[in-house]
Amino acid sequence: MAEALLQVEDLKKYFPIRRGVFQRTVGHVRAVDGISFTVQKGETLGVVGESGCGKSTMGRSILRLIEPTSGVVNFEGRNIVRLRKGQMQAMRRQMQLVFQDPYASLNPRFSIAQTLMEPMIIHNLYGSREERLDRVRRLLERVGLDADYARRYPHEFSGGQRQRIGIARALAVDPKLIILDEPVAALDVSVQSQVLNLLEDLQEELGLTYIFIAHDLSVVRHISDRILVLYLGRMMELVEAEELFADPLHPYTQALLSAVPVPDPDAKRERIILQGDLPSPANPPSGCPFHTRCPVAKPVCRERAPQWKEIKPKHYVACHAYA
């Protein structure tokens, strides 16, 4: 029944650091440093982590909006990293991206109709302008907006409405996979839940597969089937969503979860306050990248990176504590 739609193997993205008159490469920022996972058809994979953990770079590398340094990305069994430009463009019809900032991701000079028709034109969908316009109207209604909004411009809309338009644009080409990069982070609380419900409805109706990238853990728990925790470009833990919150195994996940403020004044929780700051991905710590802040670090953590292991059924962790 379950069928893999996307398979990522050892994905890496290093950005060169250039210095001096001749712009020589003096080092690399290891934004994504060896990430592997599989996403099943119709599944939502949540990806969480703090700034600089590589979650956005990962999303963009999968779509090849930035070229990955190495690794394999199999989409329906085809390695898209090897595809030539034209083939890749055709492939993008299957995989779309929704951005965080609904103010910056819509062209202010395009009407909503133009914005939504552009991907249809690029991918040569629907024969005539009338058909495309008709599709635009149906898309707007589908995301909970008035079909007549097609003639309006982005400045006439609120943040939540703009994000609905961003989702409609992604849907315009009937994709199978949508990568959502912090889709509700810029929205007010009361509007955030509207957009989350919309995403759930669309998934059910259209059989979509999501990769949901976010820093807000309660949002990710709500929408995801499984959750991947990243830290400094590496995978820390991967498991079914409720299990991650019920029984987090990695010390980083434990600290992350305990740091989330809960809207309940009576919640008595043991809080793990991590010391220190996030290290720079340009100069990541040796061994396990988390050892500099880990409350239970051992000497071995400084020397060797831990292996990715299945500690409990379908519960994967990279930590020496479970070696």
Partner: protein, 320 residues
Amino acid sequence: MGNILEVENLNIQFRLDEKYYTAVQDVSFSIREGETLGLVGESGCGKSVTSLSIMRLLQPPTQISGQIRYQGKNLLDLPEKQMRSIRGNEISMIFQEPMTSLNPVHRIGTQISESLILHKDLSGKQARQETIRLLQSVGIPRPEQIVDEFPHQLSGGMRQRVMIAIAMACKPQLLIADEPTTALDVTIQAQILDLMRKVARENRTSILLITHDLGVVAEMCDRVAVMYAGRIVEEGPVRQIFRNPQHPYTQGLLASLPKVDGPRTRLQPIEGNVPSLKNMPQGCRFAPRCRRAMDVCRQRDADFHLVEDAHRVRCWLHAE
């Protein structure tokens, strides 16, 4: 315990396109000594404007009326010179963006010692000693070196620590914190909230915490005032607001949040959008989005009604 700050019938109007629009209407609240009051609401509800008006940081053509009494004095009547001796000394403020609120061309030490020299008459050398002690107290490693560094050399969390050091330098009576952790990662947010609690306790400082994050409110505040579209709609002790919310807006906000435990059920959003300043609805401003709105809600706004001790709500459902 006396009230350190009393805000009464505060009204703030902005001029836009030659017309005045009311951003804050009839807002009243008070903060007791050593207490943390949360001012919660979504974007455009007037929470930040309210805090800026306390510091008298709003410029004309903004119109302000009402009273802001600090230790009995109405701050709105004070001459600027007296206000300056209060600002940064007795009442201080931290902002959301630590990078934009620190001056990039001045050393960390200079920015902290400035208020010590100004308000506390310390010599340069004494101020430097005190600055190093302050940096240490907010958990900055190597304070003797950091004191001579520039803001860009520090991380976001460290910069927010510096902001707290500046705000706490003169041991203020009241600290106004406007979304102090919104720009920070969650593990850093935990550090900063912990630090704010610690320094406030040590100095017996009251805090006015402005935030949109109900989790932060539950964790930090003694009392909460919920704002919507320029008005306070509900106010009370933190436990009552979370356990027994009475205003449909407060109830809606709490119901719309995804949970970190328990079964995952469909979210209950508040339909519609926050009204804009130029398009305020008649009567209760929440009425167009309220599931329980009645005719009267669309005509006149409700007065406050007492639910329990110190818990009041502005809603017609509670009118006798």
